[in-house]
Subunit: 137 residues, 3 copies
């Protein structure tokens, strides 16, 4: 059995930003030398997300608009009484999900034709980590 | 360590449709001969989902109605300016989730009394794949 | 390869309640003696959730209020025609997610600074199980 652990750090310019990390993940899978197994990728911060969707600019705008409708940054939140302003970011990340689990087959990411992996930031301007954990053989 | 990989293909009659795949997954787990491990099942298309809920007709109708309220097919979306009409399907699948990870114990799906696995289609009428990846011993 | 399986049972006082299970999960990981691997934790009931977020009272209130806005307990649901009253709980759990998958590194939960694991109950007052399944070496 083989395991492989790696950390990525992101510090976005925008408060809300999606970064395509598919190529980075492919490299890490290649380095792991795991031929058959599973790969967990999760945001280690609770106002960020790792999710899978389409690399299409319009759709990324739709996601941002939709998340603001579902969890508005302008509403009043109990969490923000602590001095924070990011309650909405916790909710947005909940919709998008914390983590993805991917299959590795014959040494490669076993993916559909349009699947792309994104780091989703909802409260940016500071460094945040993502873990990639691979197990298999 | 054992690993097992299998693909399922779905081509639904309806644009939005939920298909119960629990028995199919039980068969695949049995074929894998894995006694203790994890089973990843994910939609390989980004307008489809694999999720776990109840086999109850009323609830399935509730899910469809609710998803249409949260991500209406009748709204304007940037993604649809590309010629697509399925932006809402990307959003609906995000709510329902891309994947599930299941426990295998003593050679069987380790499930609660009402857990059932569904393939969720949100932009049907064409063949789409689901991967089942099992690792364990 | 090592695997470890354990079950937790929760019977909440409130219909909707979040219970922090992080310390319990750390103990189970320690008992498993797995040094490098993955840990799946999932609610075995379809009106409950396991999710990761912040241990902050205000935010927990925000989550409950927000979920009630997105999936109101006061609406009419087809599922409730069966005699149930918990359709809203199925929808709320869908937003929060069924499961989490965690990395184990050097024998410990590989977590970010604010990550905390919660059992989320949306239709309480009866015993419900959660499975913890660990695989690794």
């Amino acid at each position: 059995m083989k395991t492989h652990t790696q950390y990525l750090t992101f510090n976005t310019n925008d408060k809300i930003e999606f970064i395509n990390i598919t190529e980075k993940i492919k490299e890490i899978i290649s380095q792991s030398q795991v031929k058959e197994g599973l790969c967990l990728i999760n945001a280690m911060h609770i106002t960020a997300s790792v999710f899978i969707n389409d690399e299409e600019e319009g759709l990324k705008k739709d996601f941002k608009k939709w998340l603001e409708e579902l969890a508005s940054s302008g509403k009043k939140y109990f969490h923000n009484l602590t001095g924070e302003s990011n309650a909405h970011a916790h909710l947005k990340r909940t919709i998008m999900g914390r983590e993805v689990v991917l299959a590795i087959t014959k040494g490669k990411l076993d993916f559909g034709p349009w699947e792309q992996i994104f780091y989703g930031e909802f409260d940016g301007h500071r460094p945040k980590k993502v873990i990639v954990k691979i197990i298999g053989e």
